[in-house]
């Protein structure tokens, strides 16, 4: 299915200036309600959209926001798009366009595929630059038509992965890992070489294990031990120990073309809430269980 088949030129417009995300949403709700008769409309619909936004942000790093509402007693999918001539800054992300989707409760797969297609589009700089210079909805509609953007039947990991993850090298020492963990709040980093080839990964437990020798792990329980010097003094070794010494090799990895269910399956099987995505030996992204939850299940 082509994305354009789901679009309506009347619901695509260019906006010279909006002060806030809320105003864009208001605008889009107005336009949708003008052309369609929905069970819930106007202020109430806006409220629903804003509440959702508060729960989990719909703004993606590639500069698009995709708010959506799943409506009772409704059986269709409506898409309204607003391109912002002047980007709005939302949590350090330069928001350049907003796509509002109203859909029914059952067709979540279609909705997810539309989101995936939009996300792919938002990352394509060439297509985006063409869309940005259009003047009205009809031109934009025709551009969408020319692009022949297909709505895929199935979502793959490529659609939801973080494609530019923070990586480390085998020679990175623990002090730097510490810094990265603090800076990004991640507990897991893929390890790559200079050519960005995937080598393995390191996670917070590998870091902590530096202070817990193997023999301690062999004991059935260590309740008799109230404190343990090597653990408390990990930071003293932070510069001596490098990622290459403690990283995990041979972890499960997935390909960007793998399905979401495969990722979920592997994560459950291996009890790991994250996974590196590798294509031809090169790291291309990372997907976490949280991503799947946020972008697929909760979406």
């Amino acid at each position: 299915m082509q994305l354009v088949s789901l679009l309506d030129a009347k619901l695509i417009h260019y906006e010279e200036r909006h002060e806030s995300l809320e105003m864009v949403y208001y605008d889009l709700v107005e336009r949708i309600c003008q052309h369609h008769k929905l069970p819930v409309c106007g202020k109430k619909l806006l409220e629903i959209v804003l509440n959702r936004e508060e729960e989990a942000s719909m703004v993606y790093p590639s500069g698009v926001a995709i708010p959506h509402v799943r409506m009772d007693d409704f059986d269709d999918t409506i898409i309204a798009i607003c391109f912002l001539r002047q980007p709005i800054l939302v949590r350090d992300i330069k928001l350049k366009w907003v796509v509002m989707i109203i859909t029914d409760k059952s067709s979540s797969k279609l909705y997810l595929n539309v989101v995936a297609a939009l996300l792919r589009l938002s990352k394509d700089e060439v297509m985006m630059s063409v869309l940005e210079v259009n003047n009205n909805g009809h031109d934009a509609y025709n551009t969408f038509k020319d692009f022949k953007i297909a709505v895929k039947e199935d979502l793959t990991l490529r659609d939801i992965m973080i494609s530019d993850p923070v990586t480390v090298k085998p020679q990175t020492n623990l002090r730097e890992i510490s810094k990265l963990m603090n800076e990004y709040g991640y507990s897991f980093f893929p390890v790559v070489d200079d050519m960005h080839k995937y080598l393995g990964e390191i996670q917070i437990l590998n870091y902590l294990k530096v202070g817990v020798p193997d023999y301690l792990l062999m004991m059935d329980n260590i309740q008799f031990l109230r404190s343990f010097e090597p653990l408390e003094k990990i930071f003293e070794n932070e510069e001596k120990v490098i990622v290459g010494d403690i990283m995990e090799k041979g972890n499960m990895i997935l390909s960007p073309d793998d399905s979401i269910i495969e990722a979920v399956f592997e994560m459950i099987q291996h009890k790991k809430p994250h996974c590196s995505i590798v294509e031809h030996g090169v790291l291309v992204g990372v997907v976490t269980a949280m991503d799947i939850y946020r972008k697929v299940i909760r979406a």
Binding site: P213, D214, L216, D220, Q223, F224, P230
Partner: protein, 425 residues
């Protein structure tokens, strides 16, 4: 003659793989034994009849008892209690742990003992800032010596006991005295070598004394109950002769009671993780393999040669057996050697025409148990110990281990030889 050559070839290649572990031991033994069957050197029925189920069930029974007992935390409790009872004095810790390990090992198999003791040793040496190497090697050897003392302490004893119809108490009366002597000399040696070398600061000692060993006992009720079962098991072993029961029956009964007093949901887990099926299948393969070799007539031939070599004198033959089994065990591993020598000893008894006295059996048991003592290749527990040490950054080379082992082995064999000669002839 042809059959014998083929049989020797199959057994020889299997033993080579078993000793070198180029392929998994169990796989090598079982594959070898079924090649026997395929080659028509022995019928399957016949091969199966060589499997000593008394040994297999005794092993299963003891494995289950130990698995449940281990769950209670009692062994690590004992280790910490010992270190604290030594008041943190390093030489006392070393000697007392040496004794406790030997004692535990007299009732547990060596690998299990080492899997529990070595982590403790590493922790203690880390906390007390002591060189771990002497502790590791001496404790490992302690478990080897301790296992020699009883029927259930070491696989060679289980094998000899079963085939020679020797009871638990027979082992206590015959094997324990020389082991006690070896222990005494070992302790004296440890004291001589280390009492000036090991030093611990007051602060590190205080850290050790802070250990709360009582918190190791996670399931006090299970511990009380299983100690009662273990007590009954020992009583059963002591009365084995009077009861007229095989050791395996007693051990299996205790094992089943252990499973009942433990959590019902844990039965499967105990059977999965507590019972070493690989070892059991290895034994089964070995029995069939040796059975095939026996049937080929080779062992009878060896028996004759040994008798001639020993000048028809049981006294000489005992000493030959002791040293031969010792040296071969050190190189090839004690279990395959003992399995092969048992039918050989039976043949020797036939050739000699004497049936009274078990001197040859005791020589075989002592030789093969003590043979693995100091050889880093001879005993699985030694290999396991070196492996654990290595994973913790302590590299023990073949020669480092062997240097200690050789000292222990030389006086152990001297004592064993003198003991056999004085006691039985």
């Amino acid at each position: 003659m042809m059959t014998m050559t083929y049989a020797l070839l199959v057994v020889g290649i299997s033993y080579l793989f078993i000793a070198t572990e180029w392929i998994n031991k169990m796989t090598a033994a079982l594959l070898g034994s079924f090649i026997f069957v395929i080659a028509g050197l022995i019928g399957q029925e016949d091969a199966f009849s060589y499997i000593d189920w008394n040994v297999i069930f005794l092993l299963i029974g003891m494995m289950i008892v130990v698995a449940v007992l281990k769950d209670t935390g009692v062994f690590q409790y004992a280790a910490i209690k010992t270190a604290k009872a030594a008041r943190g004095k390093p030489i006392r810790i070393l000697i007392m742990l040496f004794i406790v390990t030997a004692l535990i090992s007299a009732f547990l198999d060596n690998v299990t003992t080492m899997l529990m003791m070595i982590p403790m040793i590493l922790l203690l040496s880390q906390e007390l800032k002591l060189q771990p190497m002497p502790f590791i090697i001496n404790i490992c050897i302690a478990s080897n010596i301790g296992g020699t003392a009883t029927l259930i302490g070491d696989p060679p004893n289980i094998l000899v006991g079963s085939r020679a119809k020797l009871s638990f108490m027979d082992f206590i009366f015959n094997m324990t005295p020389p082991v006690l002597l070896i222990m005494a000399i070992s302790i004296a040696m440890i004291w001589f070598f280390y009492h000036k070398k090991l030093k611990v600061s007051n602060r590190d000692r205080a850290k050790l004394m802070e250990y709360n060993e009582n918190s190791m006992i996670v399931k006090p009720l299970l511990l009380r109950r299983s100690l009662i079962v273990v007590g009954l098991l020992l009583v059963g072993f002591v009365l084995q002769g009077a009861l007229g029961l095989e050791a395996s029956t007693i051990a299996m009964c205790a094992a089943m009671i252990m499973l009942i007093i433990n959590d019902k949901k844990k039965v499967e887990q105990t059977l999965m993780h507590g019972v070493d099926w690989e070892t059991l299948l290895f034994f089964i393969g070995l029995f069939m393999l040796v059975g095939g070799l026996h049937k080929s007539g080779f062992l009878e031939l060896v028996a004759h040669k040994i008798v001639i070599l020993g000048n028809n004198d049981p006294r000489n033959i005992s000493v030959i057996l002791l040293w031969f089994s010792g040296i071969t065990s050190a190189v090839l591993g004690s279990v395959p050697m003992v399995a092969t020598l048992i039918p050989t000893v039976k043949e020797i008894y036939q050739v000699l025409g004497v049936n009274d006295g078990n001197a040859l059996w005791w020589s075989l048991a002592m030789g093969s148990c003590l043979g693995g003592l100091g050889s880093p290749l001879g005993l699985t527990s030694n290999i396991v110990t070196i492996g654990i040490a290595k994973r913790n950054g302590i590299h023990i080379s073949f020669w480092q281990f062997f240097r200690y082992g050789l000292i222990y082995m030389s006086y152990s064999f001297a004592i064993a030889t003198v003991y056999v000669l004085i006691r039985y002839f």
